[in-house]
């Protein structure tokens, strides 16, 4: 089947399904009708879509950790602890990296080694290996909705098993879970595989079960300018909507400059809604999630708390519907449950204290909003152009042309020519815009902002500046000033 942005016909979907479910023995456990009945019995209390809706209408920001370990009982205990002691508003199962690469045999070995070692040797929860019934035990262990978080280019089997397993939200997309998470996976393949996932979510919806679909906004987590991640988010929303998804959450990784971050969070749902509407998708509910700083963290735990709390403050002031929480162990390793709860509690304290506060409009904010809108629109419009109106095809071509280019991405299907750097106030700008389809005004804006920093630091903007910025937050700064 050739890639195009078109709702999969049922026969196509169901014939693919057979292959997908055959890829690992647990695939046999999936029974869609039984799964729908299960979700209906579980009710709204388990629904991420319902919770997000409630957060959005009440102006609250939900706090969600990452959390995944190799062993089932440990996963259950972990989630219970994060709900009770950590006060998490919603929870995840974060999937391990072997599963993400569809290496289920290695994941199995990891489970067994973990049992032997008495500690998790995997960096996440291998849901496929455990299967549907085990997933339901995880989901039922807590009173709040649970989401699947991962980074899987081909997540078809994972989606089948976890959605049948009672999870009500599924993160990822054909771009955001490929370009930062893979080296050799063609976009044609990952987009098609995620059309499958979206079609599956759409199927659930058609049978009365709303699955929330979240796209991974932070991409590589490292100095990604908002215009780029917004464009990817909008495209993934369009792709999902075509397959019948009606509940989407768009994400953004905090960059660190308050004005830029607030502008990013304010523009994100508006842009998505505009494009959904323009492309004829009606009745899609759009919510937002801010990821606390996704790049390198300081190793010192107190300093990490500083970064975490600033992310929480940004989420609150920007009115994010949800915030993904980092932990004081971020620079070192997957957090234990205490460190994980610590991150959530610090976050919630700040969210609650700022619950009734917001960032008032200012000329600086208005300018930043205009820039982000212009950038995103330029990229998405050009992508649609390149695909002759087909966003799936257009995306493949846009990446080839460097019209979308994600900094520091490992994928060879990403041009990788773009270089970001912070300006003098810490906003992320483009040092090397490479082939982004920006007009002169936008390009001048970026150049001038970086030139300003260069003048202050008395150096030419260049790769050393980029390196300094990559290390900066880890070393207790935002802008990587020369020493």
């Amino acid at each position: 089947m050739e890639l195009k942005n078109q709702k999969w016909p049922a026969d196509e979907f169901f014939s693919r399904r057979r292959e997908v479910l055959a890829a690992w023995p647990t695939g046999r456990e999936v029974d869609l009708d039984e799964a729908v009945a299960y979700h209906r019995r579980a009710g709204a209390g388990r629904s991420m879509a319902a919770l997000l809706d409630q957060a959005r209408t009440s102006g609250r920001t939900l706090a969600q950790p990452r959390a995944g370990v190799a062993l089932l009982l440990d996963q259950i205990e972990l989630l219970r602890y994060l709900a009770a002691e950590g006060e998490a508003d919603c929870l995840p199962a974060t999937i391990d990296s072997y599963t993400r690469q569809n290496r289920y045999a290695e994941a199995q070995a990891g489970i067994e080694e973990s049992r032997a070692a008495g500690r998790s040797m995997l960096n996440g929860f291998p849901a496929v290996n455990y299967g549907v019934a085990a997933c339901r035990r995880v989901v039922e262990a807590v009173d709040v909705p649970v989401q699947v978080r991962h980074g899987t280019p081909d997540a078809r089997l994972l989606a089948e098993i976890t959605l049948a397993g009672g999870f009500t939200s599924f993160e990822g997309g054909g771009i955001s879970y490929n370009i930062p998470y893979a080296k050799d996976v063609p976009l044609e393949k990952s987009i098609a595989d995620w059309q499958y996932v979206d079609r599956l979510a759409g199927w659930y919806l058609e049978h009365g079960v709303t699955i929330n679909r979240e796209f991974f906004g932070p991409l590589t987590g490292t100095l990604v300018p908002p215009g780029i991640s917004h464009a990817v988010g909008v495209i993934e929303a369009l792709l999902a909507a075509e397959q019948g998804v009606k509940n989407v959450t768009l994400g953004y990784g905090q960059c660190g400059n308050l004005i830029q971050d607030v502008a990013a969070m304010l523009t994100l749902p508006r842009l998505a809604e505009d494009y959904l509407e323009r492309c004829g998708y009606r009745g899609v509910t759009v919510t937002t999630v801010l990821h606390q700083w996704m790049g390198g963290f300081p190793a010192d735990e107190s300093k990490a708390f500083g970064v975490i709390a600033w992310g929480a403050a940004t989420a609150a002031l920007a009115g994010a519907d949800k915030v993904i929480v980092k932990t004081p162990h971020e620079a070192v390793g997957v957090p234990g449950k205490e460190a994980n709860a610590a991150g959530i509690k610090a976050t919630k304290q700040v969210l609650n204290m700022l619950r009734d506060q917001f960032m008032p409009p200012t000329p600086e904010l208005t300018e930043e909003i205009a820039v982000i809108r212009a950038e995103t629109t330029a990229i998405v419009d050009k992508t649609l152009d390149l695909g002759d109106g087909d966003v799936a095809l257009g995306t493949v071509r846009a990446f080839k042309a460097g019209v979308i280019d994600v900094p520091f991405a490992p994928s060879r299907f990403n041009a990788g020519r773009l270089l970001p750097a912070r300006d003098n106030r810490g906003a992320v700008r483009l040092l090397e815009p490479a082939n982004l389809p920006f007009d002169r005004a936008l390009l001048d804006f970026h150049r001038e902002r970086l030139a300003e920093r260069g003048r202050v630091e008395n150096r030419e903007p260049g790769f050393q500046m980029v390196i300094d910025d990559i290390y900066a937050i880890g070393k207790g700064m935002l802008v990587g000033r020369p020493r």
């Binding site: 990296s97 072997y98 290496r103 460190a339």
Partner: protein, 142 residues
Amino acid sequence: MTEEKTVVLGVIGADVHAVGNRILAYALAQAGFKVANIGVLATREEFINAALETDAAAIWVSSLYGHGELDCRGLRDQAAEAGLERILMYVGGNLVVGKQDWAGVEKRFKDMGFDRVYPPGTMPGRAIADLMRDLGLVNEVD
């Protein structure tokens, strides 16, 4: 000064953390080394083949994502089998899952045959200085 020694650089296993790899490559090149960068998602075989092909003086393995312990086992033996008995092997990153006692982690990786093991957040300069020493490129006394 470095006589154009080659270092094979890569991120092992199912690991896609690309940022540190990019910076290490840049830092090694700046220090005068040739870099054979096999990038992320690198298998043990790819490390060894690259080392053979480039007649490398050292292999630098990165593992950030926590599965380093599972992925690195056997690399030293496979290298020996391929005739790379004496090649230097360094490993660094976030080698294990979670925050663990460093001495224990270091020992486990030394036992696997790595010559040097670096904790999270190691700055490239430190390891490059070690490499120059191990390769006899600097006078031990200074």
